[in-house]
C-alpha cells in the first residue's frame, strides 16, 4: 500500500469513528451555542466602540469576537479531544502496542491533522456564517472565503500544538495539565479580546504561540476581505517556524516516553 492510500485509510477511519461516536453534531451544536451566547451578550450590553477601536484597531467588538472566537473554541476542542484520546489509548495499553507496528507515525499524524482540519473548517463555516451575516451583512459573509483559506493553513499548527500538549500530558502524567493549557490558551492568546489589555510581558509571551497569529489573520480577512501579504506572510513564517519547533520537540518527547515505557500511567 502506497503512502497516499495509507493516508486515505487513516482519514476514512477517523471520519467513521467520529461519525459513530455521534459527537460530530453535538459538538457543532455546542460551538454554535457558545458563539450564539457571545453574540447575544455582545448585542445586549452597552458598547463603547470608539474606546474599543483605540485598543484593538477594529471598529466592531461583536464582529471581532464572531470572527475570532470559533478559532479559539476549535483550538480548545482540539487540545482536549486529542489529549483525552491519547490518554485513553495509554490507559488501555494501546500506545505501547502502536509503537511496535511498522507504520510511519508522521504520516498517521498528518492524516489525523487533515481530518481534523477538514472538520474544523466545516464547523467554522457553520457557526460563523449566521452571526457574521447578522452583524456585518452579506459583504462580511463573502469575506469568509479568504478567512477559510487562512484558517486552513492556520489549523495545522493548532493541531500540532494539541498533539504536543497531548504528549506532554503523558510526560507530566496528569490529565490536569490539559486544563492548565486550555485556561492559558483561552485567556492569554488575545482572541476574544485584544492582548493590549495585558502588561507588555504577557503580550510578548503570547506571541510565541500560533493562536494570536492565526486569529489575527482570520479576523483581518473577515473585516476587510483580503489576504494582506504584509500580515499573511509573517504569519506563514511564524507558523512554519512553530511547525518545525513542535515537530522536533514532539519527536524528542516521544522518544523519551518510548524508552521509559511511560505510556500507560496518567492520573485523573
Amino acid at each position: 500500500m502506497g503512502s497516499v492510500e495509507k493516508f486515505l485509510v487513516v482519514v476514512e477511519s477517523d471520519l467513521k469513528e467520529l461519525w459513530r461516536s455521534g459527537e460530530l453534531l453535538l459538538m457543532a451544536a455546542l460551538l454554535a451555542f457558545f458563539q450564539g451566547l457571545f453574540f447575544l451578550i455582545g448585542n445586549l450590553v452597552r458598547r463603547e466602540e470608539e474606546l474599543f477601536a483605540k485598543i484593538s484597531g477594529y471598529s466592531d467588538s461583536v464582529l471581532y469576537q464572531m470572527a475570532g472566537v470559533p478559532v479559539l473554541l476549535l483550538s480548545l476542542v482540539m487540545v482536549s479531544a486529542v489529549g483525552e484520546y491519547v490518554i485513553e489509548l495509554g490507559r488501555r495499553g494501546a500506545l505501547e502496542h502502536i509503537q511496535t507496528i511498522p507504520v510511519d507515525a508522521k504520516l498517521v499524524l498528518g492524516a489525523h491533522s487533515a481530518t481534523i482540519t477538514l472538520i474544523s473548517l466545516l464547523y467554522y463555516l457553520v457557526v460563523t456564517v449566521p452571526f457574521v451575516y447578522f452583524r456585518g451583512g452579506p459583504q462580511a459573509v463573502s469575506h469568509l472565503l479568504p478567512a477559510l483559506l487562512v484558517l486552513a493553513v492556520g489549523l495545522v499548527p493548532l493541531f500540532l500544538f494539541a498533539a504536543l500538549v497531548a504528549i506532554l500530558t503523558l510526560l507530566v502524567r496528569t490529565e490536569a495539565f490539559i486544563e492548565l493549557v486550555s485556561a492559558a490558551v483561552y485567556t492569554f492568546t488575545g482572541i476574544a479580546y485584544p492582548l493590549t489589555v495585558f502588561p507588555q510581558i504577557v503580550v510578548a509571551l503570547a506571541q510565541l504561540l500560533p493562536h494570536p497569529h492565526v486569529a489575527e489573520s482570520v479576523r483581518l480577512a473577515v473585516f476587510y476581505g483580503v489576504l494582506e501579504p504584509a500580515r499573511f506572510l509573517p504569519m506563514l513564517a511564524v507558523l512554519a517556524g512553530y511547525a518545525v519547533f513542535s515537530t522536533v520537540l514532539y519527536s524528542r518527547i516521544e522518544r523519551t516516553l518510548r524508552r521509559g515505557g511511560r505510556y500507560e500511567v496518567v492520573t485523573e
Binding site: L30, V45, S61, Q65, T174, L180, Y193, F198
Partner: protein, 259 residues
C-alpha cells in the same frame, strides 16, 4: 442501616484526603484566576471603560470568580454521583444501605474551602493584574454570603447530579449550565444591560445571593433591593433549593435501587 452523622463524617474525611491528594486541586487553584480573567474580559471588552474604573473592575472580577466557582461545583459535585456509578461503587453503597444524599452533601461540603480559595484568588489576581487593588468591605458578611452562594451552587449541582444518572451526555448540560447560571444572575455587571434585562436579573433569587456577596466585598449595591429583603430572599432561596435537591437525590437513588 448506618447513621447519617457517621456517613457524613466518613464522607468528609475521605473526600478531603482525595481532594488534597488530587493534582486537580493545585491545578484548579492556578487555573481559576486564569479562566476568570479570560471570561471576565470576554464580556468587559465591549465596554473597555469598565477596566479603568476601580469599582467596576472589582465588580467584574468578582463576577468572573462567580463563573469559576459555579464551574468547579458543577463538575466536582454534579458529576460525582455518575462517576461513582460508572466505577461500580454506587451499587455497593446502595446495597449496603448507605445514604447517597449524605455522601453527596459531604462531597459538596468538602469542596467549600476549595471554592472559597478559588474565588478569593480569582478576584485578587484579576483586580491586581488589571492595575487596581482588591478590597473587602465586610469580611464577615462576605464569608456568610459566600457560604449561602456555595449552598445554592451545591444544591443545583445535586439536582443536576440526580438528573445526570439518566442523561447520556451530561457534559453538554454542564457546559451550558456553567455559563447560563452565573450570566442570568449577575455575573456580568448589570449596569451594562438595558432596563428590561436588569429587571429580569433583579427578580432572580440566585442573583440575590450573589448580590449579597458583591455588596459585602465591594460595598456597592447593583440591584435596587434593601439589605433585609436581600438577606431574606437569599436565605429562603438557599434553604428551599437545598431541601429540593436532597429530595431529588433520594428519589433518584431510590429509582436506581429499584432498577
Amino acid at each position: 442501616m448506618r447513621s447519617s452523622p457517621s456517613d457524613l463524617k466518613a464522607g468528609l474525611w475521605a473526600f478531603s484526603r482525595l481532594l488534597l491528594r488530587s493534582p486537580w486541586f493545585a491545578v484548579g487553584l492556578v487555573t481559576a484566576p486564569i479562566w476568570s480573567m479570560g471570561i471576565g474580559l470576554t464580556f468587559a471588552i465591549h465596554a473597555p471603560s469598565l477596566l479603568t474604573d476601580q469599582g467596576s473592575l472589582r465588580g467584574l472580577s468578582l463576577g468572573a470568580g462567580y463563573f469559576v466557582v459555579t464551574s468547579i461545583v458543577l463538575w466536582n459535585v454534579g458529576h460525582f454521583l455518575r462517576q461513582v456509578r460508572d466505577e461500580g461503587v454506587l451499587h455497593s453503597i446502595v446495597l449496603a444501605g448507605g445514604r447517597v444524599e449524605v455522601l453527596m452533601m459531604a462531597r459538596g461540603i468538602t469542596s467549600l474551602p476549595y471554592t472559597a480559595l478559588a474565588m478569593a484568588l480569582s478576584y485578587a489576581v484579576m483586580v491586581t493584574l488589571l492595575g487596581s487593588t482588591p478590597s473587602l468591605t465586610d469580611p464577615l458578611g462576605a464569608a456568610a454570603s459566600f457560604l449561602l452562594l456555595h449552598v445554592v451552587l451545591m444544591s443545583i449541582s445535586l439536582l443536576a447530579g440526580s438528573a445526570f444518572l439518566w442523561i447520556r451526555r451530561p457534559w453538554i448540560v454542564t457546559n451550558v449550565l456553567q455559563f447560563l447560571l452565573p450570566m442570568s444572575s449577575g455575573m456580568i455587571p448589570v449596569e451594562l444591560f438595558p432596563e428590561q434585562i436588569r429587571s429580569v436579573i433583579a427578580a432572580s433569587p440566585i442573583a440575590h445571593v450573589f448580590e449579597l456577596l458583591r455588596r459585602a466585598v465591594t460595598g456597592t449595591p447593583s440591584l435596587p433591593l434593601g439589605q433585609p429583603q436581600l438577606v431574606a430572599s437569599a436565605v429562603i432561596s438557599a434553604a428551599s433549593l437545598l431541601a429540593v435537591s436532597v429530595l431529588a437525590m433520594r428519589l433518584s437513588t431510590e429509582r436506581l435501587r429499584r432498577s
